[in-house]
Symmetry: D2
Subunit: 341 residues, 4 copies
C-alpha cells in the first residue's frame, strides 16, 4: 500500500542512525550537557546568525509548545492563535492544563494577521473590565501552518511589529519549519525568523528525525531555571544525546535543508499530478502537505490503494484529505501514485 | 448621583442583616455544618421539588463556576459555552487555571442552542483525531445570560435532551437566577431547571445577599469529597453560617422571589422609560439588566448624572451601556432617572 | 452546652453588624474599590507604619495562602513551612493544586528556626543536582502558630535575615494575628512584622469578623495584576465592601486589639483554671488556644458538658484537645466552665 | 577517563540500533499504533503472565511518574512515598505541578514499610479533620530504590495487602527494574510485581535503551482516555515506533535480562574490588549502583582518574559517591578501575 498519510510514518534519515552508531559508546554527561547538544546548539545559532540566541532541545511538538508557553507567560495570561492552530485543536488541552487560555482568532488559510492581533489586543485594553479578563500575552503562529501555508516576510514583519509595540511575545511553531524554508514560494529565511520572533522552534520529528525539536530563544530570553521547567514537565531526557546527535547531524552539511527540499520537490510533483488528475484543492499549499477534497465514494476507493490523512469533513458528501511527502518520499513513490490514481 | 450601574452596588436585604444580628451569638459548627446551612439546603430542595438534590454554598459566582466545573469533569475535558459566557470572558481564566478548555460557541443574544451543541459534539466525535483533542464534557449556560436574556422552556429542554443523549453534563449559571424566574416573559420555573440540568446555582450576591451562591446537584451527583474540593480551591468559609443565614432568609416567606420581582418591576418601568426617551436597545432583555446603545457624546453627558455600566464598544462612535435594577431600586429611583434623562 | 471548641463558632463583633447596617444602602463600586476598603487599607498601613505597604482583602485563610503563594513564586518553586503548618496539613492541598511543593521542616512547638531554614537552603544549593529539585523560594510561618505559640522578636528577626540573605520571601500567616499581638508574653508588634516580613496577613475570620483577611505586601511588592490573580482563583468578591466595612471597623478605635485582648484575658483565666484543675498541658500557649491532654474516658465525660476541639491522638489512651477563647468569650463563660470541670 | 558515574552515559544496546535500521523505512502508523509497540506490549504482558494487563510506552521516568499519577488519582489526593523517593526529590515538582501532594515518609535504605503506610493512612482517617486534608490515595515505591536497594517479596506482599485493604493504589517505579530482577539477592520476579502492584513500569532509559519506559496497568485499569492524557502532558511521541522498536528488541530473546545481568555481574565485581580496597559503603546495595563514602581529599583525587556520581554530603569532611555499572560495562573496565584506585 502506498503511504502518503503523513511525514512521520517512517524512521529517520539514515545519516542520523549512522551517527547514533558511531557515537554510541562515547561516554557523555546526561540531560543535554553532552557535546552533541552543545555542538548542535552552536550550529543552529550560526544558521540563525543570532549569537545571543539560546538553544534548547525537546522531544516533541506538543511538549515544546507546552514548556515554552508555560515558562514564558504568567498566570492570568493567554495565547493568541489561529483557531486552527495546533495548540487550539490538536494538543488535547496541553496549554490549558498549564493554566492558560488559548484565544482562537478566525484563520485565513491557517494564518492570522497583524491587524487581527492588533484589534484583538486593543479591544482587550479598551474594555473597562479588562482586569477581569485573561490578558493576551503571546502570539502563537505555525509556519508552515496546519494547512501547509506560509507567512510572507511582510506578514511576519507586521506581526512582529505589532507584538513589540503591544508587549506580546511572538512564538513561531516550526514543527515543519524545513518545508517552509525550502518552499518554492517563500521569501522567509531562518535568519528572518530569528530576527522577527522572540522564540521559535525547528522541528525534527516531522523533518527526518526520530524525535526532537530545537527551541531558539532569540535574544538571551531563555526563561530562568529552564532546565527545572523542562524536568517538571517531564520533558528532560536523561540521554539528551539522542536529541543532540540528531540535530547535530541535521545541521551538518545542510542535511536539514536537503531533507526538506526533497519533500518539497516531491510535493510539487504530487501537486502537478493531482492537478492533472483534476483533483479539487482544499487550499493552495506551497509546502509538503497537499489537501484535496474528494467525495465519500472516491475516498473509499482511494483507501484501497493509498493511505492518506483524513483532514476534515467538508460537507455530508465530501471530505478533505491530506497527502504528505517527507525526507524519504521518492520519485518512484510519485510515479506509483500516478498509476493508482 | 443616580446609580444604575449594577445590581451589586449596595449591601443586602435588611432582613438578612436582621437575621445575622439575631443569630450572631448562637454557637454553631463551622464549615457549613451550622443549622442555617442545613435549613437553607432543605428549603431549597423543597423549592426545587427535588428530594435527591444536594445543596452546597459557595461565596461568589466565579468561585462557584470554578469549583463546580473542576470537580465534575476530568483532565482533557472541556466546557462548551456561549462565546459571551462569563466563564469564557470575565473570569480571568478561572476555568483554564484548573486545566480545562472553554469552547466558545457563537452566541445569539447570549445564548447557545441544542443544535449548536449537538453539531459541535458530533463534529468532535466524527473527527478521526478526536482522541488528540479536548473532549466536550459539559455545557455551561447562563440564565439569565450575560445580556439579560432567557432560555425558553423549550430551549432548555432541548439542551437537556442533547446533553443526556451525548453524555455531557448540563450546568446552569444562575448568578441572577431570581430575575429570570420572576421575568414577565419566562415559562421556566425553578423546578424545570432542577429537572432539566445536572447542576445549577441560585445566585445570592447579585440578588440581595452580601455574598453567596447555592449550588444544586440535582440528582445525588455531588462530586466525591466535595468539602475537600471546596477547601482546596480556597472556597470553604470557616463561618459557613454567613452563607447559611443569608440563604435561609432568602428562602423564607419567598423573599428571594420578592426581591427579584422588585427588580423586574423596576426594570420594566425603566424599559418603558428608555423607550419613551427613544433609546436604542442593544438587545431585548426581559430581566433586570437593560442594554442601550448611545453615542459617545451622549455617554459623556449621561456620566454626569447617572452611573451606568460600560458594556462594550459598538463602533467608533457608539457604546453599549447597562442599566441594572436590583432588590433596592425604588419607584422613586426610576422617577429621578426620568428627570435627568 | 458550653462552647470552647474554636474561635469561629459565633458571628462577628456587634460593631461590625452595626456598621454593615449603617452603610447598607450606600452605593459603592464593586470588587474592592469601595470607600470602606480604601479606608481600611489606609488605616492598616498606618498601624503598620509602612507607607509603601499595599493592602488587599481576601475572604479566608486558605484562600489567602493560596493566592499569595501562587502569585509570588514561580513554577518549580516551593514553600518551606513547619511540618505542622496550616498549608502543609489542613488545606486539602490548596498550595499543591497551584503547582507548588510544600517542604515540611520538623517543628518545635509549631515553629521553625532561622538555622533550620538556612541549613535547608544551603543543602539545596550544595546538592550537585539541585537544578532537578524544587527550589525553596519562600518561607511560610504562622504567628500565632497552629499550636498557639509565638515567635519572639529575635526569632523573627533571624528568620527575616536568613530569608533576605538567601533570597527567599518571608510570608507570615496571621490568621490569628490579633491574639499574638495582645499576648502577655510577646515582644513582637505589628510594626515589627511589617518591617521583618515581605508579606503577611491580618486575620479577620478568627478575630471577630464574619470573614476576611487583610494581606499586607510590605514594600510595594504586590504581584502584578493582583486583581486578575484574585479573580482567577475565585477570590474576588463582587461586594468587596463586605470586607472593607469589616476591616475598617476593626481598625477604628483599636477594636481589633480590644477583641484580641478580651480573648487573651479569658485565655489566661482559662489557663489558670485548667492548672488549678491539674490538667496536663500539651504545649505552653501564650495565646487564645490552650491545648491539654486528657485520657479517653475523661474526654468522653467532658464531651457531655463542654464542646472542645479535637486536636490529635497522643497515644492509645490519650488525646490532645483544644480550648479556644474569642472576642465573645465572657468571664461568665469561664466561671461556668469552672463549675462543670 | 574511566566512567562509572551513571547508567545513562552511553547510547543503547547495539541490537536496538540494528533493529532501528532494519525497520527504518517500514511505514507505520504514529502515536504508538505501530506494529512494534503492539508486539512489545504483547511480549511484556506475556513476561508478566498477566493477560489482562495493559501496556503503554512513555519516554522518560519523570514523565511516566507524572502521567501515571495524574491520571490515576483525583484532585485533593496525594501520593505516599519514601522521603528519598524520586518523585519527592529529583523531579523538580513534576507531581505537584499536576496538583498533587507527595507525602514523604522516613525511609530505611530508600524503602518504606507496609506498617508505615498502614499507620499513616490510619492516622489520616482517625483525624477528625481529615476531610480538610489531602487524602493518601496511592503508594509510590521504587524498585530498585534510589539507593539501589530492593524490596523482598515479603515486603512487597505486605505493602500490596495494606494498599488493597485501605483502598490505595500501589505504583512501582521500575526505572532500573532490570537490575532488581537480576540481582543475586532478590526473590522478586516480574510476575510477582505484576500480581502485587496496580501499576508499575519497566525502565528502558537506564537499562540499555536510548529512552523509554513501559508502563503496565496490571488489571485492565488503564485510565480512561489515556492517549489524550499522554498528549495533554506532552508525552505522546508522533513516532511512537521509537519506543516500540526498543522495547520489542529488549523483550526478544531475553535481552532485557541479559543487559541487566551484565550490569549486576560487573557491579558484584566492583563491590568486591571496593571492599578489597577498604572502601566504606554508604549502604549495602544488591544492584548496579554502589555507594561509598570517601573523604573530600580522596574524592578530589578520584575525580582525576574516574568519573563517579556525587550522591550527597555526609559530613563536612565526607561525601557519598556512586559507582554505577550498565549494559556496556566490561570486565576490562573493572580491571582498569582496579588499576587506578
Amino acid at each position: 500500500m502506498l503511504s502518503f498519510e503523513s511525514d512521520y510514518t517512517t524512521g529517520c534519515h539514515p545519516l542520523i542512525l549512522q551517527r547514533l552508531m558511531e557515537t554510541n559508546l562515547v561516554s557523555q554527561p546526561g540531560y543535554g550537557f553532552d557535546e552533541y547538544c552543545l555542538s548542535a546548539a552552536e550550529k543552529i545559532k550560526r544558521e540563525c546568525s543570532c549569537p545571543s540566541a539560546e538553544v534548547e532541545f525537546l522531544t516533541g511538538g506538543t511538549q515544546t509548545n507546552q514548556v515554552v508557553i508555560a515558562s514564558m507567560i504568567m498566570d492570568g495570561d493567554g495565547v493568541v492563535s489561529a483557531d486552527t492552530g495546533h495548540i487550539n485543536v490538536h494538543e488535547a488541552g496541553a496549554i490549558e492544563i498549564t493554566g492558560h487560555k488559548v484565544f482562537g482568532l478566525e484563520h485565513t488559510e491557517g494564518k492570522i494577521s497583524a491587524s487581527q492581533v492588533s484589534d484583538f489586543v486593543d479591544t482587550y485594553y479598551a474594555d473597562a473590565n479588562h482586569e477581569h479578563m485573561v490578558r493576551p500575552a503571546m502570539v502563537y503562529i505555525s509556519h508552515p501552518t496546519e494547512y501547509g501555508t506560509l507567512y510572507s516576510k511582510k506578514e511576519l514583519t507586521d506581526l512582529s511589529k505589532v507584538c513589540r509595540e503591544k508587549g506580546l511575545i511572538l512564538f513561531l511553531d516550526g514543527a515543519r519549519l524545513g518545508y517552509g524554508l525550502m518552499s518554492y514560494k517563500t521569501d522567509v529565511s531562518l535568519k528572518d525568523i530569528a530576527s522577527l520572533t522572540d522564540v521559535f522552534y525547528i522541528g525534527g520529528t516531522k523533518v527526518g528525525a526520530l524525535c526532537g525539536e530545537a527551541v531558539v530563544f532569540t535574544h538571551s530570553n531563555k526563561p530562568e531555571r529552564f532546565l527545572a521547567r523542562k524536568k517538571q514537565r517531564g520533558a528532560l531526557l536523561a540521554k539528551g544525546r539522542l536529541l543532540g546527535v540528531q540535530f547535530d547531524t541535521l545541521f551538518t552539511n545542510g542535511l536539514y535543508y536537503e531533507i526538506s527540499k526533497n519533500a518539497i520537490d516531491r510535493a510539487e510533483e504530487l501537486k502537478a499530478l493531482l492537478l492533472r488528475k483534476d483533483y479539487r484543492f482544499h487550499m493552495d499549499s506551497p509546502t509538503n502537505q497537499q489537501f484535496v477534497v474528494v467525495d465519500n465514494k472516491k475516498y473509499e476507493n482511494l483507501k484501497k490503494v493509498v493511505r492518506t490523512g483524513f483532514w476534515e469533513t467538508v460537507d455530508k458528501d465530501h471530505v478533505a484529505i491530506r497527502f504528505a511527502t517527507s525526507w524519504c518520499t521518492t520519485k518512484e513513490d510519485i510515479l506509483a501514485l500516478e498509476e493508482v490514481l
